[in-house]
Amino acid sequence: MSVGTGATRRDLVRVAGAQGFWGDDLEAPIRQVEGGPVDYLMLDYLAEVTMSVLRKLKARDPSAGYARDFVPLMERIFPICVERGIRVLANAGGVNPGGCADDVIEAGRAAGVAGKARIGLVTGDDLTDRLEDLIAAGHELAHMETGRPLADILGSVRSANVYLGAEPIVRALGLGADVVVTGRCADAALTYAPMIHEFGWSFDDIDLLASGVVAGHINECGAQSTGGNCLADWWEIPDLATVGFPIVEARPDGSFTVTKHPGSGGRVTRASVTEQIVYEIGDPRAYVTPDVVADFTSVRLTDEGPDRVGVHGVRGRPPTELYKVSVAYSAGWKAVGTLTYSWPDAAAKARAADVVLRERLDRLGLAFDDVRTELVGWNSTHGALAGEPSAETPEVQLRVGVRGTDRAAVDRFTREVSPLVLTGPPTVTGYGGGRPRVQEIMAFWPALVRKDAVDPHVEVAVRDV
């Protein structure tokens, strides 16, 4: 590794998806680097909620604030990545990408690859400390759905990060980075940045970039494209214990094949890939990323044999002048309590207990923005579509949640659940977990910001291990 700078030219680039969120299968990246040939490993750690959690951690400990799992993982896989020339891209940096990069360098030294690898660091996505200046300069950061200006809740904001595009990642690869650590970026960019770098695509090659975006969308949720959480004929999908994570085999013309390592579990079919393509999309003709607006109605899938699905024909439109910003802000408190009621008439008992609980909350004068009751085992997944429960239903779990701005009220609620065991309807159990936990609600404020307010702050640094 670390010999080349500048773009290279190959006919095929294999980008392996290895984490779909922080908390995903820890062994998956190992299986991806050991199970067969790959060129790049991409790890997506950042769900929306993750950034605010990381910011909370960093407030307590300035060295924290990134996906810690990434460091021991790199220590494990550094030698094989160096030996095989596998480059790693991860948004593990969270709200502290610099600290993450420092610790990855330490991990590299501990793994014995000092002098044999370079670490790239992308920063500039974090707007948290710039919000006041941006608002003063006329950037409203209005809520994308409600249109409310961010100034209304500025005091409650905990984090604000831009979804950066592939350009700084490509720059880091061009500078010879073998591991690229980013904070917030478009998840898909971790997959298509290597294609831009390897194939020499330009940011004006709109259809090629759109292909890369579709590849990234298929790669970014880990095994969700290779048989995990796949509804179609799920009982026939083999060996999920050792499920193979996706590998995108990309070609310079933008076409690619979705596959997984031979011998791994799971299954790659048009059905498994299609389920992932439609996952968390809005208007399929306009899948907006920082680099291109991809048209998912142009995607063509072909069967290329067992566990191989070809993708081609993807079209796109030029990107907008705006980046998406994800702002996390404190929006009160919540808690959820549960109790389990048994046959006979389990649902009737649970409903009666809910009435008792709510009357007690009223009598205590506790005010909440919302109190929600669901019966797990009956209506907590499909609501009223589940119809009426049978009196013979073996058991149901009463699940009551409250939320509001008064933390003391939410805290008092957590003390009102277990008394129902001795003071409410009969045959109840399942209170062993203790009192419910009060959680601060981190709400999300999606907004847009002009790219020219962000780009001058984006920096790329590359250092030796």
Partner: protein, 132 residues
Amino acid sequence: MTKIQLVHLAHARSGDKGNTANVGVIAYDAEAYHLLAERLTAERVKSHFGSIVKGEVERYELPNLGALNFLLHGALDGGGTVSLMNDAQGKVLSTAILRMEIDVPEEVAAAARGRGRVPPGWTPPERRRSGG
């Protein structure tokens, strides 16, 4: 014409964007897609979900994938981190839509019957031993 549950004609996956859930419905074959594209209107889906979906239902077509994408606005009690729902991210609304019944020709219903559900008598496979 006869009524059949959507679960026999299509599979689905759902997820969230804020307080909106998206449900992608994927037909098992081209014939089923044409039926769904014709009959699974935004209005019908809105009416199926009733009070579960507080806002509008938008529908998009992906004929290239034999799929329809529905956006269910206001279905998640405020969305991922705010919501008090067990399914705060709408992960299983995919199967809620598959409860719908639609009218299809008899022969389509006959061919589809049983599809999409675990076959009778199926049992989970034996656990494999590591190294085995």
